[in-house]
């Protein structure tokens, strides 16, 4: 096919457009494979700490500096309340948070740990309890 009627600049323009399209869509498909989990630790509605679990090599403790006292342990694959001085220890009983969307709260100390990340497609939208 003779494309002489199209100037070189036109072809470049179309090529740039197509490359831009691919570049714009790329994150969507790459993003889906991304299972990055971030542990977000909050006290009184304020984020104290936000930890990308993939950067954690050894489990370590994080003191929430609250009353009653509570401590969270952050691991490479999970996060959990490892110590609490409250009455019912509900936060510790919640166990280890491993999946995106998992939450543990210590209501007496107004602290909260949420594991953020892209939820599994088959995960329910909410849970009633």
């Amino acid at each position: 096919m003779n494309l002489k009627f199209l100037k070189k600049s036109d072809i470049i323009l179309v090529a740039v457009l197509l490359i831009a399209c691919v570049a714009l869509l790329l994150p969507k498909y790459l993003g889906n494979k991304d299972t990055k989990l971030t542990a977000v630790i909050m006290r009184d509605g304020v984020v104290l700490e936000s930890v990308d679990l993939s950067t954690v090599e050894e489990p370590y403790e994080y003191d929430l500096d609250c009353s009653p006292k509570a401590v969270v342990t952050i691991c490479p694959d999970c996060v959990y309340y490892s110590y609490a001085e409250c009455h019912d220890k509900l936060c510790m009983n919640t166990g280890k948070l491993k999946n995106a969307g998992d939450t543990a709260a210590c209501l007496p100390s107004k602290t909260l740990v949420v594991l953020e990340g892209t939820k599994d497609k088959n995960a329910p939208d909410a849970i009633t309890y």
Partner: protein, 359 residues
């Protein structure tokens, strides 16, 4: 190549390029719509999770902020019996108070439910619930004498609702009575957020106020735009579930004996008190989930049905309000009412469906 062909080829290339750009933006918009904005926080003394879908993330963020405000304002100004100056605080102090229309209609709905279940659900349990204080650091098992003293104060029939045509709402209770709207506060929050969301551009979303769920609008991530709400496994840990309800917009509440438990002398006491006995309600069920179109109703009905247990009485009550339910028996059998039978999937095979109605 003729001039005509040249033009044709040029047109085709331009059309292709434009299509590519349009498809790209459409796909990006779809991705943006299908990614929810989610916020987890503490409100009304419980965990609140708001999750909204909208192409414009700012719209979702604004909705999260406003929903959180709605929950906190309801708690502080209307419902909390611990917060000085709230409607309920005023009512419990003076036994007669002018309250907000929201508080008024909530109390009026509760009154209606009480009258239809012969007081199995009763908001005048305030004296009793403050004795137990389950769910707080001061939780304890009261003495029999204390419970006997509190029981005569419980009677919803002594609430008087006095609306007038000038838009003021007065409520009166007995001098010895105390109101506790703790059983329906979360559902009321769902109702108020539902009203608010209708004034926004939010495409769809869910709000969980301590397990009472508002299902709003359309779900962009499912083919038929419906939602999947899990029912917690009463025998498992907090994130375990035993069934999934496939639903359209509605309100869903659950009452169970595994939530907010007080342990004393090796005995476990849960937080749903039977207004007739003064002790945590005991029946053939371990949990019940209600599905209906109002949060206050789903909350009130789940409490009522939990106290009544599974049987003709609860089923009759549910019919009065066109509400559906999932009853989880202590022996892991599950009864699902007809209206939701086809939309509930049992996901844990330890649970078996029963169609028999107990005595």
């Amino acid at each position: 190549m003729t001039g005509k062909n040249k033009i044709l080829t040029a047109v085709i290339i331009v059309v292709l390029a434009i299509s590519a750009v349009l498809i790209t933006f459409a796909l990006r918009n779809k991705t943006a719509l299908e990614t929810p904005s989610t916020n987890t926080t503490i409100g009304m003394g419980t965990v609140v999770v708001e999750s909204f879908y909208n192409v414009d993330k700012q719209v979702s963020k604004d909705a999260i902020k406003e929903s959180t405000n709605i929950i906190n304002d309801l708690d502080n100004d209307r419902l909390s019996w611990r917060k000085e100056g709230s409607d309920v605080w005023n009512l419990n102090k003076d036994h007669s108070a002018f309250v907000d229309s929201v508080t008024f209609s909530c109390i009026s709905t509760c009154f209606d439910v009480s009258s239809k279940c012969d007081g199995a659900f009763d908001i005048t349990v305030g004296k009793l619930s403050s004795l137990w204080n389950i769910g707080t650091e001061e939780a304890r098992v009261p003495s029999d004498e204390e419970i006997d003293a509190a029981l005569p104060t419980i009677n919803y029939k002594r609430i008087t609702l006095l609306p007038d045509n000038k838009g003021s709402f007065q409520v009166e209770t007995g001098e010895d009575q105390s109101i506790d709207l703790g059983a329906v506060g979360k559902g009321l929050a769902c109702d108020k957020i539902n009203e608010y969301l209708k004034t926004t551009d939010i495409y769809g979303g869910t709000v969980s106020v301590g397990g009472s769920i508002l299902v709003y609008g359309k779900n962009p991530t499912s083919k038929d735009n419906t939602w999947n709400i899990a029912v917690r496994d009463p025998f498992g840990s907090e994130s375990d579930y035993m069934a999934v309800i496939n639903c359209e917009p509605c309100c869903i509440s659950t009452s169970g004996d595994y939530e907010k438990v007080l342990e004393q002398d090796g005995k476990k006491y849960h937080h749903i008190l039977n207004p007739k006995t003064g002790y945590p309600a005991e029946s053939n069920i371990t949990g019940v989930t209600i599905i209906c179109d109002s949060g206050v109703l789903s909350d009130a009905l789940s409490t009522a049905c939990f106290i009544l247990g599974f049987g003709e009485d609860s089923l009759e009550l549910l019919k009065e309000y066109d509400a559906e339910a999932i009853f989880i028996m202590k022996d892991k059998t599950v009864y699902i009412t007809d209206g939701v039978k086809d939309s509930v999937t049992i996901t844990n095979e330890d649970f078996k469906i029963t169609t028999e109605v107990a005595e």
